[in-house]
Symmetry: C2
Subunit: 194 residues, 2 copies
């Protein structure tokens, strides 16, 4: 149900731009359709029902809304990785660097050590997966913590950029609700992996 709703919404409201950019800002990452996110949360709960999830991990900013709604379905807290140091964050941190496809720059990414440890079974949630840089950074942080990556839930995977398939080959259980196989900025056509 959530898959069909999301693909339909991407077809209707998604905008394909030059440079492999798919804008879904009307429902996924500037304005958030919370009812749609709730359907997506229910679907991931169904898909990862056999996994003993203790935390949902995401990265600011656009992952947070999705992760919060998803975490309700699992009854666990969200931890969101922060981009760059702030005066309100002290103590020990897990850190890594992530190159952003959207922002064309490298971010330092941090998670306070007290929020992730060896006892944690983590579901990583994010809105987009392109080349996989953000996800690889989050996986590094989970591994640095000695915690277990139980699964990865992505709203929209750009399948043609290869990041998702590389993660599947490494053995991660990756559940992308919509996988864009190809898209065309001139015609606006979007083809999903079936």
């Amino acid at each position: 149900m959530a898959v069909e709703l999301l693909e339909e919404r991407i077809r209707r409201d998604g905008v394909v731009k030059e440079g492999n950019v798919l804008k879904v800002d009307s429902f996924l990452n500037h304005q958030l359709d919370v009812a749609l996110l709730d359907e997506m949360g229910a679907e991931w709960k169904r898909l990862f029902a056999d996994r003993p999830i203790t935390k949902v991990l995401t990265i600011e900013a656009s992952g947070i809304g999705i992760a919060a709604i998803v975490a309700r379905h699992f009854g666990v807290p969200v931890v969101f990785a922060k981009k760059a140091q702030s005066v309100n964050l002290d103590g020990e941190m897990y850190t890594t660097k992530i190159e952003s496809f959207t922002h064309k720059r490298v971010f330092d990414v941090i998670v306070a050590k007290k929020f992730l440890g060896p006892e944690d079974h983590v579901l990583i949630i994010d809105d987009f997966l392109a080349n996989g840089c953000a996800l690889n950074g989050l996986i590094e942080i989970v591994e640095e913590a000695g915690a277990t990556v139980e699964g990865i839930g992505i709203a929209v995977e750009k399948g043609f950029q290869g990041g998702g398939d590389a993660l599947r080959e490494r053995g991660y259980r990756l559940e992308s609700l919509a996988i864009v196989e190809s898209m065309d900025a001139d015609s606006g056509e979007i083809v999903f992996r079936s």
Copy 2:
């Protein structure tokens, strides 16, 4: 109920630091206690039941999780204001500048015009209210859009910094679930407004 839960949680897990900093990162803005946020969402729904809310507006990053959970209770979308321009945002924008107490710098803040218009009745949600700079920026954006500020919901107001009372004097309906009247970095004592 949500008020008592939140005050109790701030007393137990909040950390008072020098420079008027209250750290609530274990449940409100780095790790998110989604069950607590859900209670807070139900409370704001009760408090603003008479208002015809069409959108919840917040600002990235730490407001987004709370706003998403709150918006579920109202059955409306979230729009989050973004700090600085990204290549995925084009078209016309409402813009303002916000000085961050936490980050000690000035941000450009933007909302795409297509997500806020004269027909909108807006509930502004944020995790913290200190001097009110972030809220004033969001109010400016709502007014620039010709929309109506129906109310403001804040998790933790630092009452002694005056931003909240200034907004109340200007006639805004501001519902802060916990108002810190004073706090002491040496003893760790936190006194709430009753």
